[in-house]
Symmetry: C2
Subunit: 260 residues, 2 copies
DNA sequence: CCAAAAGTGTTGGAATTACACCCATGG
DNA sequence: CCATGGGTGTAATTCCAACACTTTTGG
């Protein structure tokens, strides 16, 4: 939202266009510098960091809403996106804690009434997205004051129950990794074996044998070796690979069994 | 709900006590006659079958609500219960299709207004429950006209998008079966090897070797052999087993890796 | 020429599959 | 005694984990 009028309109009348009390929050994961990162935002009128999120329009499908929210924040579309859990139990999700935040957001322009559609218990459907870190360009506006990528291993205390949401997202991703290949969304089109190797180690939180690891991906036909190397300074140049789109898609749909 | 007054009060004023537009629907699975069964209900004023469900009270945790709904329907508490997905996209989940149902439910007593809290897009959080078929005693009332156990392999066309919900529940259970033992909730306290064997085959939809299958459960220490047999007519009496509660609980919490 | 990282094959052991015969029971 | 289903062990194979040396590169 770009203008104050837009914000005020949203706060006062957004309830006519959106499902009340129901939001989508996104755990947007990227990968950079051999670290798994998550995109956090800081809202105006709030002094903590949280997951980017938004409301669902009355006739909008959840997946479309999640994609829209993602596109609004990151500028990229068409990414790996998946619902993982719905949250609504935390005591933070109730009226009192948020009336003040809301008043701060709109400042002195208007007074938030008791029955404002944004107050009351908030339910949030969690989606996680895996994105290519390089392609993300975050927009700030009158709602989002600041944003940043945070190392997932060193998160601060987040707003509401967003730490729980991140934990649950990671747990889901780890389980999923054994049944679906999901590396393609986090990596650029071309990557080296050490890169994808460290990615999997980071996601699973354990070390994987350097020689055995790629064998399993090759056995599933997921990788194509390219006739190109990446130059990485005074060391041997690692070969570049890409995902085999056909087999990758098939694996996504039919599932795989990876033991690592 | 037992009285007409209660029903009318709920339809007119339930919105003051419940989260609007948000329901919990439960896929309640049981196991009987070597078939996986699901508990379906038929509501007054509706001529199709669907999953049992209910609304969430304003200050009620989701899990508590799901447990309450389950207890109201099946009479049992303390069962394996887990959220699996949130649904809200189906075109069936909109106003037009349901205003008539609602009017039929309350009959001529009152007229449903356009802005009734029960109308509008309905979101449903799906929970699945695994129950011991024998212990379930279903209650009918003024809302639930009829109920029944249906073989999961031969479901009729259900209300709204409930077929999708069942599919998603089963998919989740199958995945979970590889990482957590969930047989205990579906079986009576004591059971035979052939019983749990067929259960797993039914859940996974594939045949499992009769000799290798129990070996894997024994290897995990999940089963205790009892000094008792079940008499099954003119055949050799199969031995009875029970789950080893300690190891079962540990496996639930820490996860296992089953390859079958 | 050196330091640092990439690449690559083999082997021993563990795990998994496949498979068939005997036993117990009640009618 | 017979029909039916339950119980059990082993051998062959496959799969997996462990491991170290050589190559490439830029400075």
């Amino acid at each position: 939202m770009k203008t104050t009028d837009e914000v005020i309109d949203f706060v006062l009348y957004g309830g006519q266009r959106h499902l009340p009390h129901l939001t989508i929050d996104c755990a947007i994961l990227g990968y950079h510098d051999q670290q798994l990162k998550i995109l956090l935002v800081k809202l105006h009128g709030s002094d903590g960091w949280g997951l980017p999120g938004g409301f669902i329009r009355k006739d909008e499908r959840f997946g479309d809403a999640a994609n829209r929210i993602l596109a609004e924040r990151t500028g990229i579309t068409d990414l790996f996106l998946q619902q993982f859990y719905t949250f609504g139990d935390s005591p933070y999700r109730h009226r009192e804690q948020r009336a003040e935040d809301l008043q701060q957001l709109v400042g002195d322009w208007i007074t938030i009434r008791e029955d404002n559609w944004l107050l009351g218990r908030q339910i949030s459907i969690g989606y996680y997205a895996l994105v290519d870190y390089e392609r993300v360009i975050v927009q700030t506006d009158l709602i989002v004051e600041d944003y940043g990528w945070w190392d997932i291993a060193a998160l601060p205390e987040l707003l509401y129950d967003h730490n729980d949401m991140v934990d649950k997202a990671l747990e889901t991703i780890r389980l999923q990794l054994y049944h679906q290949p999901i590396g393609a969304s986090l990596l650029p089109d071309q990557f080296t074996l050490p890169e994808i190797h460290v990615l999997y180690e980071t996601l699973l939180g354990k070390t994987l044998d350097r020689r055995n690891f790629p064998r399993k991906l090759f056995a599933l036909g997921l990788l194509n070796k390219l006739d190109e190397q990446r130059s990485i300074g005074p060391h041997r140049s690692p070969n570049l690979y890409e995902f085999n789109r056909t087999n990758y898609q098939k694996a996504l749909e039919e599932g795989i069994v990876l033991v690592m």
